[in-house]
């Protein structure tokens, strides 16, 4: 009797956090890809081209069907998670680091530094992000590293804005003034006194940006500007699927569902964090 109540609470807590579990499951799938993918994602089999889900050939089952080169969709989906997740994580980290550094410097140092840095932020924000990403990829060329660099270049101003506003709000608080009066260097004040107090809203931004980065990476790959073939990526699978939408619906459907679920869970977690930590704007 006594254990019944807590247990049901625990169960409902597990259920309400399903986005987190989904994210965790996808991450696990990405890491364990070589062990759980049923087939080699790059192995072509021209005898098994464009087969519907459940097709079997020589002992291999194509659970989610095969693409135009006879590659297993499920395996490519699992390997594609690696690209989506690693690009998203790395670009969020990189843009977050740069943006937070710039925003905190502008908010703490004020004066000319503030004017120049925040103007720069405004300029970056006035170019639609995907266009900025496209023109930069057009210059640098596609590929895994370049996509991360481009996404970081495009998105750091978001973090800078938030870090700037938060730093401004906190820089005049007594504990900061005290630390400065005691002779702490600006770097020390920023890292030990200000950063811990503004990290919450920044985490919210990072979560929401994570979903966006997944979409951006898929979008660039869809346009042929992302990670290059034969590496499996959800965006490029969708691009193939677009061409075969009349004859092989499964090629575009499954990577789309995977993308949708990943982005949805990131957005849901972000929304929860907004409720808990406060707005990240």
């Amino acid at each position: 009797m006594e254990t019944a109540a807590p247990r049901s609470i625990r169960l409902s807590a597990l259920l309400t956090w399903w986005p987190a579990w989904l994210l965790l499951a996808l991450t696990a799938a990405a890491i364990l890809a070589p062990w759980i993918a049923p087939l080699d994602p790059d192995r072509q089999n021209l005898l098994a081209r464009l087969k519907a889900p459940g097709f079997e050939a020589r002992g291999a089952t194509y659970w989610l069907g095969s693409d135009e080169l006879g590659r297993d969709i499920l395996s490519r989906l699992i390997y594609g998670a690696r690209v989506s997740l690693s690009v998203a994580v790395l670009s969020v980290l990189l843009s977050g680091l740069v943006g937070v550094a710039v925003g905190m410097a502008a908010g703490y140092l004020r004066g000319w530094t503030e004017t120049i840095l925040m103007r720069l932020v405004d300029i970056f924000l006035s170019i639609p992000a995907i266009l900025l990403a496209i023109i930069t990829v057009a210059v640098l060329g596609p590929g895994f590293v370049n996509v991360i660099l481009v996404l970081a270049l495009t998105r750091w101003p978001r973090y800078a804005r938030v870090a700037y506003g938060q730093t401004l709000a906190i820089a005049d608080r007594p504990f900061v003034t005290l630390a400065r009066a005691m002779g702490a260097s600006p770097l020390r004040v920023l890292a030990l006194h200000i950063l811990p107090n503004i990290i919450g809203p920044l985490l919210v931004v990072a979560t929401l940006e994570f979903g966006l980065m997944v979409l951006f990476e898929a979008g660039l790959s869809f346009l042929g500007l992302g990670v290059q073939p034969p590496t499996a990526s959800w965006g490029s699978m969708l691009s193939t699927g677009r061409n075969y939408v009349g004859s092989a619906w499964w090629i575009a459907t499954f990577p789309g569902i995977a993308l949708f679920l990943l982005v949805l869970s990131a957005n849901l977690i972000g929304d929860r964090l907004v409720d808990r930590i406060g707005k990240g704007r």
């Binding site: 006035s126 992000a129 266009l131 496209i134 965006g235 949708f260």
Partner: protein
């Protein structure tokens, strides 16, 4: 008012100048932009000629000033692939993209605003939570995927709508919905929070106490007072739509600016890509300026806050 206009106008100009500078430096990221500006078939003579036109032998500062001068005179350069001024190439595609953006904006406003209002009025009830779920789904839906799924269902299976191309109103339906979904979600959320803000105010409570019906309250008071955040978000949405058009146009083979950009990248026609990006940035800057001005007309307090 004049001071406010000058102040905001000046800011917009600085932003435009900054964008031009940024694009110039992105173009030089690899050091020598000749390879970007010429097709792969270019001969050594072409390359030399291009280097001379760009003045690559001159200092970077001089090249930059030249680029600025071109921009001020609205000379977006010449496409060597199509052998035509970049502006002419772009201009021929603008009407198509405008059509698509208008369609998407209509979808977003006509569905997003009522959904937001409904969510605010039914707050705390199951209806509201379901609509919020729907809105979140719209927000997380990759544009290219919703586009492909619509093609599959309405184009291939049901054969109700054409799956690609342009010409009739029927061609516009699916691309508009695909492009409008994200903005729809934004509008619904903004409207919800704006209306909720208003609902908590005293005048609403006293109007309710006087026996003013909910319908009259919404049409007379709430709609107008919640308009400000909606207006300001529209400026942002316009640039969102422009950017989203790149992908939606590719999905539906819609011959607008977005498809042009993608084709130009494939054809290594960098001048055109650059021109589209600059245009997109200028439109965004202008839309933000227009929103700020509109904002200050609707709510005069804004003018003072800037000081």
């Amino acid at each position: 008012m004049l001071r406010f206009l000058l102040h905001r106008g000046g800011q917009a100009l600085i932003a435009a100048f900054g964008v031009v500078t940024l694009v110039f430096f992105i173009q030089r990221l690899t050091g020598d932009p000749t390879a970007l500006l010429l097709p792969e078939t270019a001969t050594q003579a072409d390359i030399e000629a291009m280097r001379a036109t760009l003045g690559l032998d001159r200092p970077l500062g001089v090249q930059y000033l030249d680029f600025l001068r071109d921009m001020v005179t609205f000379d977006l350069g010449r496409s060597f692939v199509q052998n035509a001024p970049a502006w002419d190439i772009i201009a021929s595609r603008i009407p198509q993209t405008l059509q698509l953006a208008a369609g998407a904006l209509a979808v977003a406003l006509l569905i997003g605003l009522p959904l937001g209002l409904l969510m605010a009025l039914t707050r705390g009830r199951a209806v509201s939570r379901w609509i919020m779920g729907l809105v979140l789904a719209c927000q997380s839906m990759p544009t290219f995927w919703s586009g492909i799924m619509m093609i599959l269902v309405f184009g291939v299976w049901l054969r109700w709508l054409p799956s690609s191309g342009t010409g009739t109103l029927a061609h516009l339906v699916m691309p508009s919905i695909a492009l409008g979904l994200l903005s729809l979600a934004t509008y619904a959320r903004i409207t919800r929070s704006a209306v909720l803000d208003e609902l908590g105010k005293d005048y609403v409570r006293s109007a309710r106490a006087r026996g003013v019906g909910i319908r009259r309250l919404v049409s007379r008071h709430l709609m107008r007072n919640s308009a400000i955040p909606v207006i300001s978000i529209t400026a942002l949405e316009i640039s969102q739509l422009l950017a989203g058009a790149v992908i939606v146009e590719t999905v539906f083979a819609w011959p607008g600016l977005g498809l042009l950009t993608v084709q130009s990248i494939a054809a290594r026609d960098f001048v055109v890509v650059q021109a589209v990006v600059l245009l997109g940035a200028f439109v965004t800057i202008f839309a933000n300026l227009a929103a700020d001005i509109l904002y200050s007309v609707v709510d005069p307090r804004v003018r003072l806050e800037g000081k």
